[in-house]
């Protein structure tokens, strides 16, 4: 097992990793920017090194600074957490060249999964269902019509160079395709300087389902089942649950086996999550793979009893899955996580500043992962996640009741938080019934605006 590990991250996940290291006897090294001098991950690490000024690019994303810190602290391995450098294949390569173990998959695999088209092909080859689409760029409207017939309406035209929803058009019939094609090309040219388009099948009201995978360095792969993350705003997840009400035991079993085979074929190692969209008929389509631990891993930990970060450490240290995991892993109960952000609950504007009161709920089946504390300061330079509130219950009904109770006891003063927004969601009849898809938040927020208007 490693003697010493450097945590190349900040906030709640840095603390999460430090905790796991501490519990297995690994000495911990924290790195921090000047803005994080009084952070919990700095205070609770065995050693701490300041690596730069507040800006991410100059500190947490500064590869030479992180590697230099790892060298002077003489660590065996680096855990990159999520975000930041965790999916940066170059960083993983520098670690390898510096003789420091990167806790994650090999750089080649990270690179493969990072290239969307290559990832799709790798999945397709392994019989993982992928979202049907064109093979690359479509030159003319005639070609587009051919592809649309093959893929099946509705389709979406997307800008190759694009993002942020621009250069995109949803096409529902062959008649409207030519005009929409030209409109999308024009918009993409203006926005990105490149009007090239490709096509994908469009899922009307998709649900977001993802599978948690673990692979050791000896070719063994295991599925730790799925999570549902459909409650999102602008592609940012707000609430995650495990298991998904939409996934049948048969689907879980079959897709689990297929994914294990696939990851074994591509030589995957350590933790990873495969993301899917599910259409109204329960059909899953691969969209992408995240080659790291995810924010919402605690809901999987709750229902399986597996400590994911410890599993990552042990895998990276060379242990086999059959010594890390119990022989049979089963789903126990239901877990839900709310991401508590430092932002206005209705306007969603970020809220930085000093926390004057911080009461964290506890009790049976309640877990809070946070790096904030009373008198702590939320700096303006980083993302707004300040806490993850996770509940576990014998079933979804108990989990919901538990979350409502816990949210009502989560008191934060001095900054705005999204606690009251979560409370409103948990009171919603559709959410409670499990009737939602990725458009839920749009509708939910629109309804709130409407219901507010008459009173004003």
């Amino acid at each position: 097992m490693f003697r010493k590990v450097l945590v190349a991250n900040r906030g709640e996940i840095a603390l999460r990793i430090l905790n796991a290291c501490r519990e297995v006897g690994i000495r911990t090294v924290a790195v921090y920017s000047e803005a994080d001098r009084n952070s919990l991950h700095v205070r609770f690490a065995d050693e701490a090194i300041c690596i730069g000024p507040p800006r991410l690019a100059d500190s947490y994303l500064n590869v030479p600074a992180v590697i230099s810190a790892a060298e002077i602290a003489d660590v065996d391995a680096i855990h990159p957490g999520y975000g930041l450098l965790s999916e940066n294949a170059n960083f993983a390569e520098v670690c390898r060249a510096s003789n420091i173990k990167f806790i994650g998959p090999p750089p080649e695999v990270t690179r493969l999964m990072g290239e969307k088209e290559k990832a799709r092909q790798a999945m397709k080859k392994a019989n993982v269902p992928i979202l049907p689409g064109s093979d690359g760029v479509i030159a003319t409207t005639e070609e587009a019509q051919v592809w649309a017939r093959k893929v099946g309406f509705p389709v979406i035209l997307k800008a190759k160079a694009g993002g942020g929803g621009r250069g995109m058009r949803i096409v529902r019939t062959a008649e409207e395709l030519p005009n929409l094609f030209h409109a999308a090309t024009g918009e993409a040219s203006n926005a990105f300087g490149n009007g090239e388009l490709y096509m994908e099948k469009f899922i009307e009201q998709p649900r977001h389902i993802e599978f948690q995978m673990l692979a050791d360095e000896h070719g063994n792969v295991v599925s730790l089942f799925e999570r549902e993350c459909s409650i999102q705003r602008r592609h940012q997840k707000l609430i995650e649950e495990a298991p998904s009400l939409q996934v049948t035991p048969e689907l879980r079993e079959e897709l689990g086996r297929t994914l294990c085979r696939c990851l074994k074929e591509i030589g995957y190692q350590n933790a990873g999550t495969v993301e899917f969209l599910m259409n109204g008929d329960g059909q899953l389509y691969f969209i992408e793979m995240n080659t790291r631990i995810q924010v919402e891993h605690p809901v999987t930990e709750a229902i399986t009893g597996v400590d994911m970060v410890k599993a990552q450490l042990r895998i990276a240290a060379g242990e086999r899955l059959d010594t890390i995991l119990p022989p049979k892993i089963e789903i126990r109960g239901h877990a839900i996580e709310c991401r508590i952000n430092a932002e206005h609950p209705q306007k969603f504007t970020p809220s930085a500043g000093k926390i004057t009161a911080f009461n964290v709920p506890g009790g049976n089946g309640v877990r809070v992962d946070t790096a904030q504390y009373a008198e702590g300061v939320v700096p303006p330079y980083y993302d707004s996640l300040i806490a993850k509130l996770i509940v576990h219950g014998v079933d979804r009904a108990e989990a919901i009741a538990r979350m409502e109770r816990a949210l009502s006891q989560f008191v934060v003063q001095g900054i705005d938080t999204s606690v009251s927004m979560h409370q409103a969601i948990f009171a919603d009849a559709d959410f409670r019934a499990g009737r939602f898809d990725t458009k839920f938040m749009e509708r939910f927020l629109a309804e709130k605006v409407e219901s507010k208007a008459p009173a004003e």
Binding site: C50, A69, A374
Partner: protein, 165 residues
Amino acid sequence: MNPLNPEDIQDLKQLIEFLRENQVAEFEFGRGDSKVMLKFEQHQPSAGLPDLTSLPAGARAASTQIESAKAGTAAGAEAAAELDAGLHVVKSPIVGTYYGSPSPGAPPFVSPGEHVDKGQVICIVEAMKLMNEIESDGDGEIVKCFCSNGQPIEFGQPLFSIRLG
């Protein structure tokens, strides 16, 4: 009370030194009619840090290298004193290992009392096998050097104090 003779005062001074070194808060001693009572002022924990100061600081056992980088806080306190005295403090722009001379055994780049120009190389911080020359960011006289050869350095760590001008 009988006035203390010179030997007694000498003993008392030694006693006070001893007690202070061992961070004794109060001491009382009586012999016959005489009694000595000493009370030391308690060190106040810095305001602004929350009650976390009373937490066990992660059982931070003494570390070989980073303890001296943590002495960055001791050097930080020293540097703060220099700042108060109107001196300019040169801080490290990178993370790495400090070297005061261009090679082992060679004379140091600069010494206290020496004049330096802005842009003049005053030390090296090695990072990832690269020797980064650190330049003075002002003209003046080197007053103090805070680091020693081979010491691990973090970003912002005080390296030298300079009397500008």
